[in-house]
Amino acid sequence: MADWDELKEALADYTRSCNNNERLRKMQRDWSRVLHFVCSDSDVTFSMHVDRGEILSTPEGREGVPDIVVTTTSETFCDMFWGDLNPVQKYLRGEITVKGSQEDVMRLDAISYVIWPDS
């Protein structure tokens, strides 16, 4: 089980990778969302504020009204944010559950795919 410090480290790397990727920023230019992440194996929750494709912050806890809520284990979140797993495979096996529109679910996966095309 990953703790908040490990998740924070993964999120910092993910934020850097996203915000520094010009193609992704252009692709997500119309995508402004609030995301909530819920660890199913601990009481850790965290949020992500995205404004026109730029990740502004990733605070601990549930902040704001979410457009998307993602639930899975803390280990899966860590691997996902480090780009070490393919989120779609986990989603199609029911190991990652999402509340939100189909379009947002695809956009979320598209971020991983654009940053790490080999994932």
Binding site: D67, V69, D84, S101, D118
Partner: protein, 476 residues
């Protein structure tokens, strides 16, 4: 952990019902009514539509239970995979997705034919309209244009109310008597069964609303939509069938790809014709918006999962899987061209109806199997699930055979063509899953072996080789 959080934008019962009814009520449904009339002439068609609606209650219960177990856009993969295995689930899902292409192609053809008919253009120009329609749909999809949920809701209710009102005007205003009431076996020994199977087609695809389960305000929203939408379709289809039976001789319908325009003209002249043309074009908004979205996102996910070649996951700068969307358009245009060249538009009704019956039989089988395997709580539990779902397997299998061997134009003849088309689609889907998917998976595994090292730093006190959950090299 609880995930009971209210989303900023979520779907309520009215919008989910509109999505369900909108997915089901496409332009091809007007032709579906003509197929029912071939087997259940006159007002008897209304009886067949009622029986079809009663059977759909069973379908609603089956998909409510399955959706409750797996409330996800990937639900069909999850429940099929757990009930019949991943390979079979993939084959079935690929075959199922071909119905989306059939419906897109059918609607493109029917709208093209309707526009050409109203403009009194040569028949060859219908295909130009088909290409234009598909081209516009392609361009809108590639630019990431989406219909807002409220627009979709208004469009759906406009089509349903507009069709109902014109049908009532046709029935009440013009007067006359119905022909052949309650003559359900009047066209041959099995005509009643086939009429009911074609009636089932009118409701087909209403269950696709389960792909929006992740947007629903509460799990019950999808269940309510699954039970309310068929009632709306029943009312509209019954009124339309009665109006057609009342005003338009079957001989005139037999060779027409635009029965709704014939009804409009007979009821209100040019005004009625334009009225029905406008509604036909509106149905395309739902079909092209919903159909392209469902099928292209399925293809994207399948490519990301290494079940389709990787190019199908390629995204353009609007985050649209452009190879998937373009391929869908091209295949739809080819199918529409085949229909245009052969004039066999009612064959699409037969094939679509048969595939839907097969899916309902498989859905029933999933309920039987998952009742034994999955004991977790679900927001909807069917009463008498095992006997009713077992009955569903038998009933929908019989209805599959009834439509797969039916000639949609002539109740006195059998036709093997719909069955052959489905068999070919199923054969290639199975062959693809058996031969190509393992290769794609091996290629993905080889790529992963050569890929960059794991980025996640090892946890203090653990070795670098310790396995971490869900890595990319972990293939299904």
């Amino acid at each position: 952990m609880s995930t009971e959080t209210t989303l900023r934008r979520s779907v309520g019962t009215a919008a989910a019902t509109a999505t369900s009814a909108g997915l089901a009520f496409a332009a091809i449904d007007y032709l579906g009514v003509v197929s029912i009339l071939a087997y259940a002439p006159g007002a008897t068609a209304a009886f067949a539509i009622l029986v079809g609606g009663l059977i759909v209650v069973l379908v609603s219960a089956i998909f409510s239970e399955l959706n409750g177990l797996y409330p996800s856009a990937a639900g069909i993969r999850l429940y099929l995979g757990r009930a019949v295995g991943n390979r079979t689930a993939l084959s079935v899902t690929f075959t199922y997705m071909t119905t989306v292409i059939l419906v897109i192609a059918a609607d493109a053809f029917l709208i093209g034919a309707a526009v050409r008919h109203v403009l009194h253009e040569p028949s060859a120009l219908a295909y130009v309209w088909i290409v234009v329609l598909l081209g516009v749909a392609l361009a809108a999809n590639l630019r990431g244009v989406r219909m807002a949920s409220w627009v979709q809701t208004i469009v759906t209710y406009t089509v349903l109310v507009g069709t109902s009102v014109l049908s009532i005007i046709a029935i009440v205003h013009v007067g006359g008597a119905f022909r052949q009431p309650f003559n359900i076996f009047g066209s041959g020994s099995f005509s009643g069964i086939q009429a009911i199977a074609f009636a089932l087609f009118l409701y087909a695809a209403f269950e696709w609303v389960t792909t929006t389960a992740e947007e629903a305000r509460r799990p019950q929203v999808i269940t309510r939509a699954l039970f309310i939408a068929p009632v709306l379709i029943w009312i509209v289809s019954t009124l339309f069938a009665l109006a057609l039976a009342h005003l338009v001789p079957y001989g005139a319908l037999h060779h027409s790809a635009t029965p709704q325009l014939l009804l409009g003209t007979r009821a209100l002249g040019t005004v009625g014709e334009m009225w029905m043309l406008a509604l036909t074009v509106l149905t395309a908004l739902n079909t092209f918006n919903g159909g392209f979205l469902v099928a292209s996102r399925f293809m994207y996910a399948a490519a990301r999962e290494n079940n389709l070649p990787r190019p199908f996951a390629k995204l353009n700068m609007n985050a649209v899987p452009w190879v998937a969307v373009t391929s869908l358009t091209v295949v739809s245009a080819i199918v529409a061209a085949l229909v245009f060249a052969t004039g066999q538009w009612l064959m699409l009704v037969s094939v679509g109806a048969a595939i839907e019956c097969a899916i309902y039989a498989i859905g029933s089988l999933c309920v039987v199997r998952l009742r034994a395997r999955v004991t977790s709580d679900r927001p909807f539990r069917m009463v008498f699930a095992k006997p009713l779902a077992s009955f569903g397997v038998v009933l929908f299998s019989a209805l599959f055979l009834a439509t797969a061997f039916a000639d949609p134009k002539d109740s006195r003849r059998f036709s093997v063509v719909p069955f052959l088309i489905i068999a070919v689609l199923g054969f290639f889907a199975t062959l693809y899953v058996a031969l190509v998917v393992p290769r794609l998976e091996r290629a993905a595994a080889a790529r992963n072996a050569e890929r960059r090292p794991t980025r996640r730093p090892p946890r203090p006190g653990t070795g670098p080789d310790e396995p971490v959950a869900g890595r990319v090299d972990e293939l299904p």
